[in-house]
Subunit: 697 residues, 2 copies
């Protein structure tokens, strides 16, 4: 595949299916291209002599183009792409619809298209795409009604209609783009390819996108991690909610992965996820134009107390904080402000403040070393010239090189201020919460760009033994394993309680006698999922009662389900919960991101409180530690209410060892260690359940 950057900088574009017939897609593309493309546009249409006064070629092979745009009907589209490949044209945009989105015939056609693209090593966008744009060469190779203005954001979208709507709106707002791509069905090029390409594009400062799914989650994480060290990525990934996921799935025809996986994967990728269109562009605009703040303290300079309080609330809702001023700053404010003013943050320069007083206060705040950014928050007054305040704000922002957000409240009175602010990339909002959201995105990107991604630790494990244990399902009708697979954990160095599974009462007693103190006994049967519900668990059994307890457990199981397969009874040491916390560590395999690890509060709280956090495996030590810090119950692990802290490092190591296990064995479809009991001294996996796919072994 040629460099993807070439897709956006062609010199000659062949339009296969070009026409000047009214209302046709082929005409729309020709018009858009002829309108402003700096290179040559070559129509291909064997049925016409010329299109828009340009001689039409019979085939794409005769065009000498470096980009072919395909708008012919679906039944001949693949052949056209083949001809393009044959002729050495490396870049192809397939506008034509009627592929994977339309049922089995279309799906077969899409597979064929993919094969051709592979055979000729093509950069292929689509099919079912609105097209692509690149403003530096004036290329609008879409059939949409709007041209993009020039800018430094590059934008990809899985919805062509959304591109049309955004461009119409962006043109009005003065927002420009470098490249725009309608991803279509993503038969060949997908979101990861464009992340890679734009990550090294000197003309792209921010990558934004609307996605309904990510094809290869693991690859996306690798690509985006690399790119977001320098270039921010802001995405709307729709299908966040159950209803939305169902709608996305029926719209794109793909199996929706869980939103937990997307949430975790996008976070690990360093992507800033926007929930709404407004959030997407509010974040993108400041990331394009403003420097990142060196610290999270914000100074609010206002001529109105009430809006100052609202802004403080919005800062309280965000990852930012109200800056504490240095003594010098406070002194400067005391001198500059009249009685009734407030020198503490939010700084109230008072309703009678003129431009000079307002400007000086913003200047002082920006000069304070504790201040990472400033919000200039103004209400209209008779003595304040908004346009002048805008110009002062812009000049001070440039002088201090710190991010500044503007919240000039009002309507008609603000209009004159909009242009100088917008020109300097300082968006102005009526609602202080949106100004804060912008600064929040800058702060998040600073942290993302400073992240270090460590390699996962490779523990010394017994992989062969693990494989043997997993292979035991091959002899069974059932692919689920329970406590009989505790040795699997052992093979990967995850500590389990002393004990064993036995199939005779005398053996149970023998195992118990090897254990100090009372024991726990559990029925072991693949047919009994909820052991407690049938009285299949006995806690605190003294040695002298072990024999009878064995008999009782087996008879309970038989009563419950006469034909149940009973593997035996597990006899286990008691793990003291008094100073411990029950947690859960688990994994399920996501169709897009692969192994998704879960950590949370365990026991009876798992389902009810859902105090959990997720990561895509493999995870590094730092990521595993972060997981133990992210749950609401984290302080319990660290010794809340006078308790001793539990072995949190041991919990994090268990997460990493599980991460290694599920990465090593794609055959493990899902696995739960619940509870994983953590005490101040030990971390032990008390119970395990997993499902294995024998085909993958």
């Amino acid at each position: 595949m040629g460099e993807l950057s070439e897709l956006f900088a062609p010199e000659r574009i062949a339009v296969v299916g070009a026409t000047d017939r009214d209302g046709s897609v082929g005409r729309a593309i020709m018009e858009n291209l002829l309108d402003s493309f700096v290179g040559e546009v070559v129509p291909v249409n064997p049925k016409r002599e010329s299109v828009f006064d340009r001689p039409a070629r019979d085939g794409v092979g005769e065009t000498d183009a470096d980009l072919a745009v395909i708008v012919v009907p679906p039944d001949v589209a693949v052949e056209s792409v083949r001809e393009a490949g044959e002729a050495g044209i490396g870049n192809v945009v397939v506008i034509t619809a009627g592929f994977g989105e339309t049922g089995s015939e279309g799906a077969a056609r899409e597979r064929e298209l993919k094969d051709v693209a592979e055979a000729y090593d093509l950069n292929l966008v689509g099919p079912n795409s609105l097209g692509i744009m690149s403003t530096p060469v004036g290329m609008n190779a879409t059939f949409g009604p709007e041209d993009a203005a020039a800018g430094r954001m590059s934008f990809m979208s899985q919805s062509g209609a959304f591109i049309t709507a955004v461009l119409d709106w962006a043109n009005e707002q003065g927002i420009g783009f470098k490249d725009v791509v309608s991803l279509g069905n993503k038969a060949v090029l997908d979101e990861s390819d464009f992340v890679d390409a734009w990550g090294t594009d000197p003309d792209t400062d921010v990558i934004i996108g609307y996605l309904e799914g990510i094809d290869d989650g693991q690859r996306f994480i690798r690509s985006a991690r690399e790119v977001t060290q320098d270039t921010p990525i802001v995405l709307v990934k729709s299908g966040r909610t159950d209803a939305g996921a169902q709608a996305a799935s029926s719209h794109t025809g793909t199996i929706a992965g869980s939103d937990e996986a997307y949430e975790a994967g996008l976070e690990q990728a360093g992507v800033i996820r926007a929930e709404t269109v407004q959030e997407l562009f509010d974040a993108a605009r400041v990331l394009e134009s403003q420097p990142v703040p060196e610290r999270d303290g914000v100074a609010v300079i206002t001529n109105a107390g009430g809006p100052g309080v609202m802004t403080t609330d919005a800062i309280g809702d965000s990852r930012l904080s109200m800056a504490s001023f240095t003594d010098e700053t406070l002194e400067a404010f005391r001198e500059a402000l009249p009685a009734g003013g407030n020198v503490y943050n939010p700084v109230d320069v008072v309703g009678d403040a003129d431009n000079e007083r307002f400007r000086d206060a913003v200047d002082v705040a920006l000069g304070d070393e504790n201040v990472g950014s400033v919000i200039v928050l103004a209400c209209p007054t008779a003595v304040l010239d908004y346009e002048q305040l805008a110009r002062d704000t812009v000049a001070l922002q440039e002088e201090h090189e710190k991010p500044v957000a503007a919240c000039f409240m009002g309507g008609a009175r603000v209009e004159a201020a909009e242009a100088p602010l917008a020109e300097a990339g300082i968006p102005n909002y009526f609602d202080p919460a949106r100004a804060v959201d912008g600064l929040d995105a800058l702060s998040r990107f600073r942290d993302i760009s400073e992240r270090e991604y460590d390699e996962p630790t490779a523990f010394d494990v017994d992989r062969e033994r693990a494989r043997e244990i997993l292979s035991s399902v091959e002899d069974r009708a059932d692919t689920r394993l329970g406590v009989e697979a505790m040795d699997l954990l052992d093979a990967y160095g995850i500590e389990t309680p002393e004990g064993d599974i036995v199939d005779a009462p005398a053996d149970a007693l023998e195992v118990a006698e090897g254990i100090d103190g009372d024991v726990v006994m559990k029925i072991v049967s693949p047919d009994i999922l909820h052991k407690s519900d049938i009285g299949g668990v006995k806690v605190g059994v003294p040695h002298e009662e072990v024999y009878d307890a064995y008999e009782d457990l087996v008879s309970r199981a038989r009563n419950y389900q006469p034909d149940a397969t009973i593997i035996g009874v597990q006899v286990q040491e008691m793990v003291d919960l008094d100073d411990g916390v029950e947690t859960i560590v688990g994994m399920n395999r996501d169709p897009q991101f692969g192994p998704l690890l879960l950590f949370g509060l365990g026991g009876i709280f798992v389902e009810t409180l859902e105090d959990t956090t997720f990561r895509v495996a493999p995870v590094s030590e730092a990521e595993a530690e972060t997981m133990t810090e992210e749950i609401d119950a984290a302080p319990l692990l660290r010794g809340a209410r006078g308790r001793d802290p539990v072995d949190v490092a041991g919990v994090a190591e268990t997460i990493q060892r599980l991460s290694q296990l599920v990465t090593d064995f794609p055959a493990i479809l899902e696995l739960d260690i619940n509870p994983l009991v953590a005490t101040p001294d030990v971390v032990k996996a008390v119970d395990v359940r997993l499902t294995v796919d024998p085909e993958e072994l």
Copy 2:
């Protein structure tokens, strides 16, 4: 006090301190009033012959006005108000600043002002107010630069600057108002008064406001409950966050109550609380103009799949749901839509849909009995006329009398559609999430207006005994009570474990022998707050060990703090936790709302998980039940994971009995029952702590 409605419909307004001096507040008010007020404006200024060519009176007593606006300096303002009262002028707006907001001298002046207002029974707005407006009589009695347009929202604000900003913006947006009030320092009239007044005002359809505090929470709840049966109230109450509360407190000089109290109080009052300015107006606009939906199912009709998914996500985030269509509707869509369309919700009429197809689909959806409201979601295409779609949408909304939200995405292309939509009160947003927020507010208001507020149950309790127990603090240095006050709960019918407090080991044994099974023993001392930390609690003590346990507990307490007051040892029955849940029920007294009840998950989870909910007491049975349903752990109470459900009705009754106790005794400053153990059979208060104010007994 005369009817507050008279404040907004004066016939003669006296402006005390009227002047035509440039840049003065007195001039600004005269100009604003002369501009459009339908009645007479009478300037009062003993130093001038005339103001704006109107003869100036020497005193307000000579004006025969029914509203006096006071703009004289603070040192003479109170006297002017007195004169107005003397002259029988019942309505006064004090613009003058320099009262409570400026320190002790100003506070004294404000008290004086209040006394005068009371003596003459005045409707007094302010002091430190921007003024008031009422559009039906063209009255702008403010010194702000903007006039309000006529409309059916009435707006109060604790920030004058915010009013100025909002009006400038609202005029641009075509949003009008009936009355506008700048509350100022609220020396006399406060938010509750205006809620009452606007609640019976036939020209006010929506009440909106910006508040930094509510003066009398209990009164506000009563007023707002009544009003919101018909008229929606949407408020921003700032100081939500810790930082914001601090800023609000320094801005208004009042003690900030907890945001938990505001959140609970506003909910109980039936107020829709907006977090941001955008939310405030998005909600208010639809509440003013659209009918409430009869059901929460929303139909989304779109010509673009991607935005349809985004909208579905936004609906998933809200209290609304995606409507399921009837078979007739599905059949109608199947007939009307081409291949590639989607007849299920979100309905995709496909990108090539013309106005007729789009219109018909919206019509069908609105006709479906399962559909409560419709979102018309459109992306620009060559075949769709946005203006026509707007007109069709308006006509269909009126025909079906169901709420409709518009999300016509785009910029310049949408402009022509804005006017017909806005005229019909259908706000149009680029971001589907905002359209959904509007429908969400309508649905919330429907539920609020249908609420029934039951009286709290009056349980038969032993109030005298409770008073005696509380009075025991009068003999002590400490105003805190612990387990020695368990009888207080008993007096109010809250069950406690069997047992007693004793001060000799032999007595301990006697109590234990009256209890079936092992006992719990706890040291009882006002000086030892965290009993567990010093080993001051013994669980599962067999009778034969009770004597020694007593000695041990006392000696531990002595070791910990030699001079501790030791009341004795509590000997208590063991409450079996195996099938129980530890909860917490508590109360603290909020400065604005009074007794604030808390219910939540108890034990070690209280502080860490903060799984709690709050209500202002007194609560009805229904409210207490709702509290038990609102915590995240609610399913645990109702028998999650195969456990038996606990006695939830008993928990709710305990909440109500506590509500009655803290309402009966304002002397109880705070009280926690933790844990309140709930099992399938019993609900028992195992431990209690409270603080009593002897002055209030």
